[in-house]
């Protein structure tokens, strides 16, 4: 998370006092975060308010017990006012009181990287909502349905005569609800798995009793998981489960369920635990919507081994042997497990690279091998610089990275200077490292594929490609050859229901290559694309190394004699590939096909898009005054125009094909 307050102007008055208090500690308490969020909101700084509201979700709630739910609720209120949303929409339906969860989910989801709005179904109405085609659930057309149910909803007797049949019947009752939602709305589903109760009348005998409810509940969880993995095509992310039993066991089942509040107000999850449940539900929603983090970046000294390599030498490291050495070995084993489930590993260390690599090759206690690391960055550059290099080399955004370092000063530097990177604050005791890693929820994935186990290798190939590119750049002049060697193919696709989620994601998240900065949501985009006066050009890019997927969006609307750019953006994965030149060519051709005289564009400067400030000029556009006299002569916006009859030569480094029949004519 970005350290809130970084880069903002010096605030005055009470806000300054709060900021000073926050600066005195690495992780301000939830209470302080709440006060800061509110103070920023009052100072008309919604960005600052949102940053602190999000920071609150990472604050250690146990440090000020009782502040948890109330502080989260307050922060959720700040977010709602400062970052209003209408889409994507999540509807919670359940059998108990889900109001608190519903209220906290937008905050938790924003922390997970997706901005969502939530609505709560009628109290206890989950079956009716799903089964009645005219229910509020379907009227709201949600993107995600959260089935917030609990063990009390499972119809199992204390001891079942036919355990197999009882489990099968229960599982099919749930899967038929999923099928109904899927058939009627296409919404994704997130279901809460069932937390086993702490109280078991059968006692230890339950383990020896095949039909014991306690046993069957665990089997229902497992069978639901199996059924969910079979729903949907391809990625199979249509139905995901939140493993509430694991969460309950983690905090203690007697903390998870509080009979007083169950009997008072049908709180199936103790209010203390609702923020935790919201965080994990949001992590799963985030994974469904494609917002999970991808890469774990590890420090070396005192993070992967005990001691400082440059001072203690290879023989002086604590690793593998002794209590401390075992703690570091356990961290390495855990990182390896993450790697096998698809998290890309990178190293970011201040060390001599040769020495650091030698430790990997020669230290007998090392669990991680050099081949497990996609990018090995060891140098004396500061860590924010190294992280930027890692992200660029792997073709990832900084917002895909999660940084782990034992040194609070390094963590702070990253929060300040590379704020998009998530930072895991390790505790001082290495025995607590693994748990700190495991508590981080935003590596969540919706499915495990064969590709996951080899993802680091794929990214290493990408790093090698980047190294090749750098070498080519040094031997000046042959960049074109290099591009040609990539055998790039751009495929034009329509903006339709298939591509809309990805396009909406790009529109929501692209900052660098973004000319106009318009943040249209999915509904808005769909409505715009449906108009005949709109030209929407979406492009997938593949090369001989990788299919980068849908990476560019150009939406333009007819405005008088011009086709005017509304939205033009490209994923940072493909910047520097000359794809923008092809897009400009497509846009000009489309304007020509429509019989228009020119293409108009504008550039709105933001904090991050300086990269494209000169794009129109480079593509042969002429700077003009805004056509509409009502448009304010905003210093941050420049206006551009290019006639379609002036010749345009693209660089022809990318083969352009179309899967969008409407564009066939354009491509000729």
């Amino acid at each position: 998370m970005a350290r809130p307050g970084a880069g903002t102007d010096t605030p005055a008055g009470p806000l300054a006092a709060l900021v000073a208090r926050a600066a005195a500690t690495e992780l301000p308490s939830a209470q302080l975060c709440r006060e800061l969020a509110v103070a920023h909101e009052r100072a008309d700084d919604p960005d600052g308010a949102v940053r602190w509201a999000l920071a609150l979700t990472d604050a250690d709630a146990s440090a000020d017990a009782g502040a948890g739910l109330a502080a989260w609720s307050a922060a959720a209120g700040v977010l709602r006012r400062c970052l209003p949303r209408t889409r994507p929409l999540a509807r919670t339906v359940g059998s108990s009181t889900t109001s608190q969860l519903t209220a906290l989910l937008p905050l938790a989801a924003a922390r997970a990287g997706v901005a969502i709005e939530t609505y709560e179904g009628g109290y206890g109405q989950y079956r009716q909502e799903i089964l009645d085609p005219a229910s509020g659930l379907y009227q709201f057309r949600p993107d995600v349905v959260v089935l917030a149910v609990h063990a009390g909803d499972v119809a199992l007797p204390a001891i079942a005569d036919d355990p197999e049949g009882a489990v099968a019947a229960e599982v099919s009752r749930w899967t038929s609800l999923w099928d109904t939602v899927r058939a009627r709305s296409g919404a994704r589903i997130v279901q809460h798995g069932f937390a086993l109760p702490a109280e078991v009348a059968l006692g230890h005998l339950a383990l020896r009793t095949a039909g014991a409810r306690h046993q069957l509940l665990a089997r229902v969880n497992a069978e639901l998981g199996r059924a969910a993995s079979a729903v949907g095509v391809g990625g199979g992310d249509a139905v995901c489960l939140v493993d509430c039993d694991r969460l309950a066991a983690g905090v203690g089942r007697r903390t998870w369920f509080d009979p007083r509040y169950w009997h008072r107000a049908r709180q199936a999850v103790a209010l203390d635990c609702v923020p935790l449940l919201a965080r994990h539900t949001a992590a799963v929603i985030g994974a469904q919507l494609g917002a999970s983090r991808k890469c774990l970046v590890l420090d070396l000294d005192n993070t992967l081994w005990g001691g400082v390599l440059g001072e203690d030498g290879l023989a002086g490291l604590a690793l593998g042997e002794g209590p401390l050495g075992e703690a570091f070995a356990a961290v390495q084993d855990y990182a390896l497990e993450l790697s096998r489930r698809g998290v890309v590993l990178a190293i970011c260390s201040k060390n001599n690279e040769a020495d650091a690599r030698e430790a990997f090759e020669r230290h007998p206690g090392m669990r991680l091998r050099l081949s497990d690391i996609a990018m090995f960055s060891a140098s004396w550059d500061d860590k924010p610089t190294q992280l930027r290099r890692i992200a660029a080399t792997l073709g990832l955004g900084l917002d895909a990275l999660v940084f782990v370092d034992d040194n609070p000063a390094e963590r702070e530097a990253v929060r300040q200077l590379a704020g998009e990177v998530d930072v895991i604050a390790l505790p001082t005791d290495p025995h607590g490292y693994l748990r700190a890693l495991a508590d981080y929820p935003f590596f969540e994935a919706t499915a495990l594929t064969a590709e996951d186990a080899t993802r680091t290798a794929t990214y290493r190939a990408r790093a090698d490609l980047a190294a090749g590119l750098a070498a080519v750049r040094e031997s000046a002049g042959s960049l074109e050859d290099f591009h040609r060697g990539l055998a790039m193919t751009a495929t034009v696709v329509a903006l339709d229901e298939l591509t809309l989620p990805r396009v909406a994601q790009l529109v929501a998240r692209t900052n660098q290559f973004n000319l106009t900065g318009r943040r249209r949501d999915a509904d808005d985009l769909a409505a715009l694309a449906a108009r005949p006066t709109t030209a929407a050009i979406c492009v997938r890019l593949a090369d001989r190394f990788a299919d980068h997927g849908l990476v560019a969006v150009l939406i333009a609307v007819v405005d008088g004699d011009a086709l005017a750019v509304d939205t033009w953006l490209m994923s940072c994965r493909v910047i520097g590939r000359t794809l923008e030149d092809e897009l400009a060519g497509l846009l000009l051709a489309e304007a020509r096909r429509r019989g228009l005289a020119r293409v108009a564009g504008h550039y709105r400067a933001s904090a991050k898009n300086a990269l494209v400030a000169g794009l129109y000029e480079r593509l042969g556009f002429t700077r003009v005054l805004p056509a509409d006299a009502d448009v304010p002569r905003d210093a941050e916006v420049t206006w551009w125009s290019r006639r379609v009859d002036e010749p345009y030569a693209s660089r022809n480094l990318i083969r352009v094909v179309t899967a969008d029949h409407r564009m066939e004519e354009v491509l000729g």
Binding site: R42, G66, G77, V78, T97, S99, R264, Q267, L271
Partner: protein, 78 residues
């Protein structure tokens, strides 16, 4: 002391940092004080002051002063 902490809880629950508690205040005086907010409030009070409010008192607080008094009694008894 109890009054200050109580005011902080109210400000959080009702997302209103200008809220100033008085003993005569009732649910009718605070925007958003519905049954859900009431449960959130009782929960936050119980956690903050490490007390357990009896079920039969849950719905019977006539005013903020009444609630504050009850908190003080329970704390005194502890």
């Amino acid at each position: 002391m109890v009054q200050d902490q109580l005011q902080l809880i109210f400000r959080e629950i009702f997302s209103d940092d200008d809220l100033v508690l008085t003993d005569t205040m009732t649910a009718a005086d605070v925007a958003g004080w519905d049954s859900l907010a009431h449960i959130n409030l009782i929960y936050a009070v119980e956690r903050q002051f490490s007390i357990q409010i009896a079920d039969d008192r849950l719905a019977s607080f006539a005013s903020v002063g009444d609630l504050r008094q009850h908190i003080e009694e329970l704390r005194h008894a502890a």
